[in-house]
Structure formats: C-alpha cells, structure tokens
C-alpha cells in the first residue's frame, strides 16, 4: 500500500514547508461531503497522530490516516499548472467519477 508524490510535487511541498518555517510533512486524506461523495484533504502536518501512517516520497513525509488510505491507496499527488492556475492534483486510481472540479470524487 502506498501513496506517492511526483518529483515535482515533492519539490513544491518541500519548498512550501521551508517557507512556512515548520512542518513534519503533508497530510493527504478524505472526508465525506454529503452525497456528493468524498472530498480530498491536503494539509500541512506539524505532528503525526497515533492512527496515522507515514510514507516517504522523494524525501517528503506523507501522512495519512488509516480510514483515508482505503480510498487513496495508489494515489499519486502531482503539481500542475493550468493556465494561470497552479496547484496539486490527486491522481487516484480508486476514484470512479471525479467531479469536474478535482476536489471531490466517488468510489
């Protein structure tokens, strides 16, 4: 079971944590958002919790809780640029239909 970052995503995360001045790594997760299914969660982590699993990807600590892992296993987090917009994108093999927005999905 694993979660990975593309090299580009890892570079950006590392950079953001440096500029933020502190941080253990990043947390990927899902939360339910009504019927529309699951929403992705992407946060800085200052401290991992007991229930968390921690992966290492290109030198970045990726933290995820067990429940979320079932939905995100195999996910690759990428950093992309689309026109003026830029940010992270979940490439999640478990997602059946992504809402066009990229923020939520169904399994």
């Amino acid at each position: 079971m694993s979660i990975t970052l593309t090299e580009r995503a890892a570079r950006h995360v590392g950079n953001f944590i440096d500029k933020r001045g502190k941080g253990f790594g990043i947390r990927l997760g899902v939360k339910t958002s009504g019927c529309s299914g699951m929403a992705y969660k992407l946060e800085f982590v200052d401290q991992a919790l007991d229930d968390d699993l921690v992966f290492d990807s290109h030198g970045v600590k990726v933290v995820i809780d067990r429940k979320s892992l079932a939905y995100l296993n195999g996910t690759e987090l990428d950093y992309v640029r689309e026109g003026l917009n830029e940010g992270f994108k979940f490439n999640n093999p478990n997602a059946k239909n992504q809402c066009g927005c990229g923020e939520s999905f169904n399994v």
Partner: protein, 619 residues
C-alpha cells in the same frame, strides 16, 4: 478545475467552499494582486508571468486598453490615457497640484473632479475600477474560483474621501472589500512585524513618482501611525531624469524630438536599474535623428549626479521623526518599500541615517500587496486557530464638528484605534431653538476653513426649550475601514438624526448603484447570472452523485430515510429550473446535510470491503 493548495492543519475547506481572498496594492504607477497559497503569500502574475500591472487606462472609442498594453498610448494618445489616477481619487480640481501641465480635459463637479475621455466623462473611481477589475479577473483565473473578498491598500495619509473613493472603486470592480489597509502597515505585516515585535518602525516607500515615509508604532497587534510625511514629486522617475540630462550633456546631440526624448528616458531608466546590480552600464542607442549616443555610466557617476535626490529623501524622514517626537535611534527597524529603494546608495544612506541595515529581503515592489494578502487571508478565516491575529489600524486624521466661531471641536482624535465610537454632548444656544445643524470636518487644524469638510446634516424636531436646556448627544462611529457615521440624539425626547458620511465628493449612493448596474449589464460583470450558473452546476453535480449512490447502496437506508432523501432530491430538481441562486444554494446544502449520514455508512461499507482480505498490519 480547482487545483488544490495545502491548507493549515484542520483548515481544509469543503469542496467548492474555498475562501479565496486577495490583497491588492492599487499603486500610482503600478498595481499588484497577491494571495496566500500553500501558506505563503505570493503575487499573482499575468499570462506573461508579470506581477506588476502598470496603473494605466487608455480609453479608445470602443474599448479599453490597460496596463502594459496602454504604455505606448501615453505618447500617441495622452488625452485618453490616464496615468497616476490615484492622485485624483476623492480630490477636487483645487486639490491636485500641477493640473495645468496634464494633458487631460478635466471637468469640475462638486467634490471629485472628472475626466472627459473618448468614452465620455469618467470619474477617478470608474477609472481605478478598470484596473481593479483586471486584477480581480487575474486572481479568479489564478485561483480557479470567485473571490470571497479583498483587502485593498491606501496611503496612510489618505483622508476619508480618498478612502471612500478607493472602496467605491473596488465595489464597482465587483470586489467585496474586507478591509482598507494602510500601505505602510501592510508592508510591516509582510515582514511579520505584527506578530513578533513591539516598537517603532519606519516605512520608507520610494516608488516611481512619490515618496512616503511613515512612522508606525506597534503595541500588542495595534499599528498606530505616529507620523507620515513625504514628497509627492520625488521618485525613481527623477533619477531617470538626472541620467537623461547627464546623457544630453555628454552625448553632444541636438535637442531631441519628443519621440527621441522618450527613447532616451526609457534608456535612462534601464541604465539606472542596471546600475543597481553592476558597477557600470552602457548608455547606448541610435536616435531617430540619426545621431548616436554611446556612453558608459559608472556607479560612481550615477551616485554623484543623484546625490541631491537621495539627500532630499531625508527631509521628510527628519520631519516625520520630529512630528513623532523621536530620534533615529528610537526606530527599531526600517522597512523598504517601492522599486526605487533597490538602489544601493538609497539603502546605504538610510542605513547610515538610522544606524542600522534596513529590511530589504522581500521584493520592495511587492511587500505591500503581500502584506495585504496576509491580512485578507486572516480576515477570510483561513488561518489556524492558534494563530489568529488581530490587526488594528488607527484613524489618520482627527474627526470633529464645527462649533461657534468656525472652530473645529475634535470628537475622535487622530490615532484612535479602529473601530471606534465617541460621543459628546452639545446643547442649543437660542431660546426655543428647534433644529440644529452639524458640519463634520476632518483635519488637525483649529479653524474649520483649514480642515476638510466631510458632510452636513440637521437634527430637527427638538422641542422648544430655554437655551442650554436641550441635551444633544452626538456620536461619531468609525468602522474598521476608517469610514464614518455620525448620529445626533436629543436625549430628553429621543428625537434622532444620523448620517453615513459619504464624503462630499459628488458620488451619491444612487450614482454608485447606477454605476454598478451598468457594470452588471456588461456580460462579464454579471455576477448574479454567474452565481446562478455555478449553483446550477453544483446542484446537478450533487443530484447526479445522489442518484448513483442510491442505485449502488440504497439498501443502507430504511424506508423513511429513503423517502426523505427522495423528497429532497425532487425538490432540488425543481429548484434548478428556477432563477434564484440563494434558494438553489440552500437546496444543495439541505440535501448535502441530509445525506451526510448515508455517505458515512457508505464509506464504512467500502472500507470494510477494502479491508477484506487484508490484515490490518498490511495497512
């Protein structure tokens, strides 16, 4: 598609519920927009990667050119190309210096001047709104959604009329203004001074055309502007001009044509900027006249020829310190703002004067926008719990009432912390007096005629009493943006009158409403339609998701639950045909809430099936 940003722990927003907030530096020469992304304040750039947007608006017969696109029009169509519109905000003709030298056709209207352009008469508020609109669109394209709000910066010395004009321009551009913030305060915020340090700071802002010096005092998250001073005709442009004159002297060429003069000026600016990073720079170009300029400027030459300009910046510095009753040693840090503070001899002079190295590690063009973005992010509620800071500004000029003899009675003194309310009692001075008129003024001077008139209003219906018997309580209230409302109450009878001070610059609420409406008639400004469109998409998305979820896992619901959800689905279907974004949004939220439990049950089922066949150690 909304790309995700990293949120602070526990702060990630629900999908489609991001609170996108920006900071905007609406500058005389250049404007910028910034936001906090992945925890870091960054300026947003245009398609060509440029963060600065020249504050230039060119009105053509049928359209508008803006920013870099309008640069050439300054020479080819000066009358319709508005530069430095910030100088006109909230100002009448009499307030603006050197108006006779400007290429515009001005119109005198009560309060604020207007300019006649190829597209008719335009107020400075409308012109500024064009710049803000471009920045708003840039931000929306960059952040992938509609903005929740913006913090817009203003010079610390801006009075009520200028602040109100700025706020109106932002509204007109379709921005929700979270706060107007003083530029030097924003710069201090960008340097993190707000949460680390107490003490007195100087903000040294040398831009393209203006120099502003502010002395700020920080105590427990409150920024107080102790003094501001400056020179509205001193900036990087003057350094260009010195180089230009030097080149004319040394190149032995005939007096240049207007076109050649502009070329030489642009070359001078490039040379100036190059000398910031290298010891010498070539001043080389071929003119239209066929003549050639081929010179080399050393840093030493440049420093020598511009020394008087550098010395000139110290004059407002000294005055501001004197006003604040401080010496250079009392200043704990000096924040450098404005592109022209990159010049090494400016930095050296400031360092010598204050006896310490100034803060220069942030980009001086960007610090104001970055600080505004940080403030916007906090106001929009995106900061983590343990890091809530409150930033308070103070009122820049005293607010008062005209009293007998044309004197100003100060009700709220300058430097009172915002928001603030102060009341004072007045009485009638004639027997049987039934009305009283109030004249609200702003400024430090004693004589009303030396202060700025903000508004007048009347309290009528005071019962006839002996002179001095009525008790009239006048309350001044200033909100967090520094905007004022005043009310008067006769306490024995409860008769009351009040006014929101729309400073007397000529734009009434109706006019603003009309301007907003006409803005909305332009397709892209049509926010209501856009909100509806977005809510429809949202509704369709959730309907689709629910239908699928019910088909897959409908057995998880009992009959009553199923009926309730079906009813909400039917209701939302009906609402999508309607035209009211707010009801539609409410319908989406209701359905979403009602299905939360169902979603959780589905999640558990999936989880169980995902776990089947694995043992927990594998996880």
């Amino acid at each position: 598609m909304a790309l995700l940003q990293i949120a602070e722990p526990g702060q990630s927003a629900m999908p489609h519920k991001h609170r996108l907030a920006v900071g905007i530096d609406l500058g005389t020469t250049n404007s910028l927009v910034a936001t906090v992304r992945n925890g870091i304040a960054v300026c947003l750039t245009d398609e060509q990667g440029r963060a600065l947007l020249p504050s230039l608006v060119h009105y053509r017969d049928n359209d508008i050119e803006l920013g870099f696109d309008a640069m050439n029009a300054r020479v080819s169509d000066p009358r319709n190309t508005i530069v430095s519109v910030k100088r006109f905000m909230g100002r009448g003709l009499a307030d603006v210096a050197h108006i006779e030298a400007m290429p515009y056709i001005f119109e005198e209207t009560p309060g604020m001047l207007r300019l006649r352009t190829a597209q008719g008469s335009k107020s400075p508020v409308e012109i500024s709104a064009e710049i803000l609109r471009v920045l708003r669109k840039r931000a929306e394209a960059s952040l992938g959604g509609e903005l929740t709000g913006a913090v817009v910066t203003v010079p610390a010395y801006f009075d009520d009329a200028q602040r109100q004009a700025t706020r109106d321009a932002a509204r007109l551009a379709g921005l929700h203004v979270l706060r107007l913030l003083n530029e030097p305060t924003a710069a201090a915020v960008a340097y993190g001074l707000d949460n680390t340090s107490e003490g007195v700071y100087a903000v040294f802002d040398l831009g393209g055309g203006t120099f502003d010096l502010s002395i700020l005092k920080l105590t427990r998250g409150v920024f107080e502007v102790l003094a501001t001073n400056g020179d509205t005709a001193l900036g990087g442009d003057d350094f260009d001009h010195r180089l230009y004159c030097w080149a004319l002297d040394h190149a032995r060429i005939a007096p240049p044509s207007a076109e050649d003069a502009r070329r030489l000026q642009m070359a001078a600016r490039a040379v100036k900027e190059l000398l910031t990073v290298s010891e010498e720079a070539p001043f080389r170009l071929r003119l239209d006249s066929g003549e050639e300029v081929d010179l080399t400027v050393t840093r030493t030459d440049f420093f020598e020829m511009t020394r008087p300009l550098v010395q000139k910046t110290l004059v407002p510095v000294k005055r501001a310190l004197r006003d604040a009753g401080l010496s250079p040693r009392d200043v704990k840090g000096v924040v450098m703002v404005g592109g022209a503070t990159r010049m090494p001899h400016i930095q050296r002079t400031v360092a010598e004067y204050f006896g310490q190295e100034p803060l220069t590690n942030l980009d001086p063009d960007k610090v104001v926008a970055l600080g505004a973005a940080m403030q916007a992010n906090a106001l929009a509620g995106n900061r983590r719990e343990d890091d809530q800071w409150l930033l308070l500004d103070v009122i820049p000029l005293s607010l008062g009432l005209e009293t007998m003899g044309g004197l100003s009675e100060k009700i709220i003194p300058r430097n009172a912390t915002l928001p603030v309310a102060r009341a004072q009692e007045f009485t009638t001075f004639k027997d049987g007096q039934t009305a009283m008129s109030f004249h609200i003024v702003q400024g430090e001077r004693e004589l009303v005629s030396d202060c700025r008139s903000l508004a007048r209003f009347e309290l009528r219906g005071i019962p006839p009493m002996a002179a001095g018997a009525a008790r009239i309580r006048v309350t001044f209230q200033v909100d967090a943006d520094g905007l004022l409302s005043v009310s008067a109450l006769e306490t024995s009878t409860g008769v009351e009158a009040s006014i929101h001070v729309k400073p007397s610059y000529g734009l009434t609420d109706d006019e603003i409403a009309a301007m907003l409406r006409s803005g909305l008639e332009n397709a892209d400004g049509d926010q209501a339609a856009r909100a509806l469109r977005e809510q429809r998409v949202e509704a369709e998305r959730i309907l689709e998701a629910c239908t699928q979820a019910l088909a897959a896992d409908g057995d998880l619901l009992d009959e009553a639950e199923r009926t309730a959800i079906d009813a909400l689905i039917a209701r939302l279907r009906k609402l999508t045909a309607g035209h009211d974004a707010a009801t539609l949004s409410e319908g989406v939220n209701t359905l979403s809430r009602a299905t939360e439990d169902f979603a959780a049950r589905r999640m558990n089922r999936t989880l169980r099936s995902a776990l089947t066949g694995h043992n927990i150690d594998e996880l």
